[in-house]
């Protein structure tokens, strides 16, 4: 596991920063996108941190039914366009 991923606080911060930086463009990301933040880590290890971030209400899922994406909680316009505010 990389030093970045092993340090939970730093890992969380890296994810939040990366997503915030991209937020002007889009707010939902595939799981594979996390490998851009943690290029040297195994998906299973990345998943542990991402799961934790969902549990801590930093991230949330968005599901198309067939696929699932991740975003910062409350970001994007889906909450209002789906009437779930």
């Amino acid at each position: 596991m990389s030093d970045l991923l092993a340090n939970k606080e730093a890992a969380v911060q890296a994810v939040v920063e990366w997503m915030t930086k991209k937020a002007g463009n889009k707010t939902k990301f595939y799981f594979n996108d996390f490998s851009k933040i943690f290029p040297d880590d195994k998906p299973r290890d990345i998943k542990k941190v991402v799961n934790k971030m969902v549990e801590e209400e930093i991230l949330e899922y968005w599901s198309s039914g067939s696929t699932t994406m991740y975003g910062l909680k409350g970001s994007g316009i889906q909450h209002s366009s789906e009437g779930e505010e």
Binding site: N25, K26, T27, K28, E55, S64, G65, S66, M69, G76, I77, Q78, S81
Partner: protein, 382 residues
């Protein structure tokens, strides 16, 4: 009505939360005779359409009465199933992969009362609640998807097309006159939540028009990059569009000739609706199977490129299906599945026998596999 809380606290979602417990243990749901004879069944026999007996090495007998059902069912209907199972089957019942319901009893004398009870129950509109059948060399229940009952991208209804088709095929649900079993499946769009691509007959909803673009709202309710990346054929790109009032808005542009009408963009973006009364309808496929019996599993082939949606009973569709089933019943050898029959006589004869017109749309032009389906021999029939 007042909100009744279970104890869940939205402010603390993890409090007393139970997760990852999986399904119920099947052992708790086995009827005793199943639990006792599991792994030690000697053989089975279909006594008549819809009625089976399984015989254990122990000599125990288990009689099963199989009935059809609409896949969509209410609590009222399920409670009635429970009443029947309580009355006849000691409170056990099972469902099959193809949406049939199976009532099991442990002795022969319990079969007739059960059958009579099942036959006597009808819906207010006159249809059977629990028609007995769906076994052996006949037509069993149609597996299907949601359609207009609940889906956002269907090109037709599922429950309605299935009801219409099963009414037409009903005698074959209660008979076993066919050369082999005949599996009909239904999926309401090309995404095929119900994988119908290996069925003897497949009913498939199909769109034929690219999405409409609600430019004025698109950027307000959708994330444009998501809509773009949702497209499997890369037909969508960002665009600036001038509205009628001269205002310029961010939106998307669709390369219509690349669109395969899958509706994935509509899933991501409600401003790209796809459904259309004229564009949408039915594709019929035939000749697929999943069993490894005699021949290898095979894909269904498109035999009718398009039929319009004819609500509420889709008569062109059901008539075509009926012709296929009857031609198959007449032409195929015993044990021969529909696709094996078509392969044996040649697909050119299949179209003759089923009185289906062959059109240019039925020649594959989708990616590399298309070549495999063209005829690379001088052997063919006139």
């Amino acid at each position: 009505m007042a909100f009744i809380s279970t104890g869940y606290n939205p402010a603390k979602p993890m409090e007393n939360r139970i997760t990852d417990i999986g399904p119920k243990d099947y052992n708790d749901f086995y009827p005793p005779v199943i639990a006792k004879n599991k792994g030690k069944w000697s053989h089975h026999e279909i006594l008549e359409p819809g009625v089976l007996v399984h015989v254990g090495d122990s000599g125990d007998e288990l009689y099963t009465v199989r009935v059809g059902g609409a896949r969509i069912m209410s609590t009222g209907h399920i409670n009635e199933i429970c009443d029947i199972a309580d009355k006849h089957c000691n409170g056990y019942v099972r469902f099959t992969t193809r949406n049939n319901i199976e009532f099991m009893v442990d002795s022969k004398d319990k079969v007739e009362p059960l059958k009579n009870d099942l036959k006597s129950r009808k819906f207010a509109g006159g249809s059977f609640k629990f028609p007995i059948g769906g076994t052996g060399a006949g037509v069993t229940n149609i597996v299907h998807t949601q359609g207009w009952i609940h889906c956002h991208t269907p090109a037709t209804d599922a429950s309605g097309t299935v009801k219409a088709a099963m009414d037409v095929l009903f005698s074959d649900f209660q008979d076993m006159r066919l050369p082999a079993q005949l599996r009909v499946s239904m999926a309401c769009c090309l995404n095929m939540c119900g994988a119908v691509h290996c069925s003897d007959i497949a009913i498939l909803g199909y769109h034929r028009k690219p999405p409409m673009l609600d430019h004025e709202y698109l950027d307000k309710v959708c994330e444009i990059p998501l809509a773009i990346s949702a497209c499997p054929t890369a037909a969508i790109k960002p665009a600036k569009v001038k509205l009628a009032d001269g205002k310029e808005v961010k939106s998307v542009e669709v390369k219509n000739e690349r669109c395969m009408y899958c509706g994935n963009c509509y899933t991501m973006c409600p401003s790209m609706p796809l459904a259309d009364a004229d564009g949408d309808g039915i594709v019929l496929m035939a000749g697929g199977k999943v069993s490894n019996r005699i021949s290898a599993p095979k894909f269904s082939k498109v035999v009718v490129a398009f039929l319009p949606n004819e609500m509420p009973r889709w008569p062109s569709m059901t008539a075509t299906i009926k012709r296929m089933v009857d031609a198959y019943a007449k032409g195929a050898n015993k044990y021969e599945r529909m696709g094996d029959w078509a392969d044996r006589i040649g697909w050119e004869k299949f179209f003759d026998a089923c009185e289906i017109e062959f059109t240019h749309h039925l020649i594959d032009d989708f990616r590399q596999q298309a070549y495999m389906s063209w005829r690379q021999t001088t052997q063919f029939k006139f």
